[in-house]
Symmetry: C2
Subunit: 271 residues, 2 copies
């Protein structure tokens, strides 16, 4: 496996069809499922590990975000990726006065409402990585549903050719969506974490039976609060564009705190 | 000459070394000098004609901006460019909820102070055009000095390989920097327009003789006002980064209104 640390080396690398899996490291089985999908999609697979400071708010967990590079590299070697891109901040942000991408209105909606600047940081780093790697395919996880929609639009709006491939959410045995931040959960919260996916499944079941969308959500807000969750949001949106235009193709979206950990999850639901 | 109107066709076109000259049409001898420099720089030359709505303020001249496509195409054919890219708005802005690039602090400085959003619009369209054409060289005119600095930084910050080539300012016989907007000048203003470059030359002469930079500018502010100019700014900056850190390498910058026309000009000055 080739280890690339500079933008120049990275650009020189890619020939042939390339699938790219961007990560912030602290790799888990969810990332492995993305990589396996990438391997099915293209001849060559490159993974980036870059904890992007610009997508963390001032009160967020940039400093404490789990970093375990040696372990990650071992995993990537085992899974069989072709290259890993591990740039430092100076490679990705060569200028002090940074240029930023401001995404459309979705940036201040849903998670963006609770994490100001987050999707601007995500959009900016994704465009930089795409410019650098020029992949044919970008593989993203469905857990970050809003991120997927914003990045898809970003690629379309900036006239890039890269095709976005979505990997389904990888879940623990108890249903909890895999995330690097799950490592922060204490034992009690780890048990309670199963209720998040349970709530989504129950809401989906109610909606497909014809229940009113808002009523279904309200019912399971109370359910989650009972198990110690503090909700940022639990709601239903249009699955295609995340608008409030509720067609047949819906997505149930949740973001909630359990102890010191912010969990997000979602479930697509046709009615 | 190939006429390309879609992003897809444009991307398929470029093979080999390509120099790109972005324009808003209404081509004049200044553009021709850019094209000639592009021809010296690379094997193939592509010119874009796109009056970018996003870089005009709500009270600016987007609607009345001179458009003369047939005449422009004839000129490009004569000058001998290889391709012209003439996209419509839907090609460049495929999404209604547009993503925008916010440049660093320079965006609200100098011309940005008087044209809010202008450099965000310029940065966004330039990045789109670069993504689309993927040129090896981008040829810009030195008249838009601030634009050159912002675009250079944009390319560096977004990790693109494109090299920026600067063409010196093309001037009328009387010294007026060539601009599509000069066509708006009435006869009397057209005569007075020569004083703008005269003022820059005189300030440069004073500075190289050791005169204080601010005093030199103040003197010629009054000179220009006498000839009917309404000044947005006349000042001296660091020629490398447009900061107020006045080293040996300076640039004298001016933006001023003559009748209904906003003129800009600049002159580099070493001391």
């Amino acid at each position: 496996m080739l280890k690339i640390t500079t933008v120049v080396a990275c650009k020189n690398w890619a020939k042939g069809q390339v699938a790219f899996v961007p990560t912030m490291g602290a790799l888990h089985a969810g990332h492995v499922s993305l990589i396996n999908l990438a391997k099915k999609t293209a001849d060559k697979v490159i993974v980036s590990i870059f904890v992007n400071p610009e997508q963390f708010g001032p009160n967020e967990d940039f400093v404490s975000y789990p970093r375990q590079l040696e372990q990650d590299l071992l995993l990537l070697e085992q899974v069989g990726v072709d290259a890993v891109f591990i740039p430092d901040n100076n490679e990705i942000y060569p200028l002090k006065n940074k240029y930023k991408i401001t995404p459309n209105c979705l940036a201040d909606d849903l998670c963006g409402k609770f994490r100001p600047g987050h999707f601007s940081g995500v959009s900016t780093v994704v465009l930089k990585l795409l410019n650098c790697i020029k992949p044919d395919f970008l593989v993203l996880g469905a857990k970050d549903y809003q991120q997927v929609v914003i990045v898809k639009n970003l690629i379309r709006d900036f006239l890039l050719d890269c095709k976005v491939v979505i990997a389904p959410i990888a879940r623990e045995d108890n249903g909890l969506a895999m995330s690097s931040r799950n490592a922060y959960l204490d034992i009690r919260d780890r048990d309670n974490a199963r209720h998040l996916y349970k709530a989504l499944q129950s809401i989906k079941s109610l909606i497909t039976q014809g229940e009113n969308v808002n009523k279904a959500c309200e019912k399971y807000k109370n359910y989650l609060i009972k198990y110690g969750y503090r909700l940022d949001y639990l709601l239903v949106r249009n699955a295609d564009d995340l608008s409030n235009n509720l067609s047949d193709n819906l997505v149930i979206l949740v973001a909630a705190w359990l102890g010191s950990v912010r969990l997000i999850d979602n479930l697509v639901c046709r009615r």
